[in-house]
């Protein structure tokens, strides 16, 4: 690629929503010299086949990254912070009863 003086190496991260109500999921990244072209390229890469309901385009340098193992993977046993063994099912049923809302669709069996 020819060097024509444009800052082509600015990277933008693109998140996409596949259907209304779905979470925004990281789709990938594009390079573009400015915000407007970044949105155009995001649209072409992640929306030209009408596969996205919504896109978020974020300059990579605006993202705060946290990857310190001391913070994310501390060396002590933290299993007590996991919800396993704490059965929510009956508490949820009771709460729904108080609120007068019908049980959620599907089953609560897996909710712990």
């Amino acid at each position: 690629m020819a060097d024509h003086g444009l800052p082509l190496d600015r990277v933008w991260e693109v998140f996409r929503q596949e259907a209304q109500g779905d979470p925004m999921v990281h789709g990938g990244s594009v390079r573009a010299p400015d915000a407007e072209l970044a949105t155009h390229y995001a649209r072409e890469f992640f929306g030209r086949r009408q596969e996205s309901e919504r896109l978020w385009v974020i300059p990579r340098d605006a993202i705060l990254e946290l990857d310190d193992p001391d913070l994310l993977k501390p060396p002590f046993d933290r299993s007590f912070k996991r919800p396993g063994g704490y059965v929510l099912k009956h508490k949820l049923e009771a709460a729904r009863g108080r609120a007068g809302t019908p049980p959620a669709r599907g089953s609560d069996e897996g909710v712990e």
């Binding site: 690629m1 003086g5 082509l8 573009a32 400015d34 407007e36 072209l37 155009h40 072409e44 890469f45």
Partner: protein, 264 residues
């Protein structure tokens, strides 16, 4: 494709509409083919995908116009698109030229897309419902194209130096041929009388100069030619053909010619 029920047309009105549809379809078709040639070699990967996609959009618009024309003339859209001799195409002279360098492509796109926007906007008021409906639908997509080429106008002018110089030179080079987008049609009087064409081509051309002038001036450029005394398009602007186009024609008819009458 389904279109709104059309009012009935007399034979002269029908022939005039067929001429208009052919110009609209051929413009989109030929531009789409020229710019599809950037696939694989555009300045950056992202632009490669964008340019290919935009070119496909134009072929899609051409198809819609060809299908409408085929309904009107009891013809076949593929036959019209691929089955004519080079001198039977009616695209504007602006589209007679090879894609050139990137600045040339951006310049031609700017000239064409701004003109097409003015033309489509006007056609949404057509008395012939299928034309009004298609124009409205295409405008939604063309608005994005317009933004894209305006973004490139800003990139190339902001970069300055050779990028800006090449763009300015390409705009000047194609200014005269670009006027042919608004070349008067043989049946324009008939189309105007029936409201199929809501405004005269000359009026659209004038509005195009105003709009383009605003876009260019926002980027620190001015119209490549005098706005008060614009080059007059002639009907020949849509009939003259070049060796460049003869080459493109041989390319895009290659597959269709390989087995005439085949069903694809």
């Amino acid at each position: 494709m389904t279109v709104a029920p059309a009012r009935s047309l007399g034979p002269t009105e029908s022939a005039a509409l067929a001429e208009l549809l052919l110009t609209l379809a051929d413009d989109e078709f030929i531009l789409g083919f020229w710019d599809s040639e950037w696939t694989g070699i555009a300045p950056i990967l992202e632009e490669d995908v964008a340019m290919s996609s935009i070119s496909q959009d134009e072929i899609g618009h051409a198809r819609a116009w060809y299908e409408l024309l085929a309904q009107l003339t009891a013809d076949d859209a593929d036959r019209i698109a691929f089955g004519r001799a080079p001198d039977e195409y009616r695209h504007a002279a602006l589209l007679n030229h090879a894609r050139g360098d990137w600045a040339h492509t951006v310049a031609r796109r700017l000239l064409y897309e701004t003109a097409d926007a003015v033309r489509l906007e006007s056609l949404t008021g057509s008395s012939y419902a299928p034309v009004a409906e298609l124009a409205a639908k295409m405008r939604r997509e063309e608005t994005y194209h317009l933004l894209h080429w305006n973004a490139w106008l800003r990139q190339l002018t902001a970069a300055g130096g050779e990028a800006r110089d090449r763009l300015v030179a390409a705009l000047a080079l194609r200014w005269s041929d670009a006027q042919s987008i608004f070349a008067p049609l043989a049946g324009e009087g008939i189309l105007r009388a029936g409201g199929i064409l809501p405004e005269a081509m000359a009026a659209l051309q004038k509005r195009w100069h105003e709009r383009l002038g605003q876009w260019l001036s926002a980027a620190g450029l001015s119209l490549p030619g005098p706005a008060t005394d614009p080059p007059q398009p002639s009907t020949a602007g849509r009939t003259g053909r070049t060796p460049d186009f003869a080459w493109l024609h041989s390319e895009f008819t290659l597959v269709a010619r390989s087995e005439e009458g085949a069903t694809w």
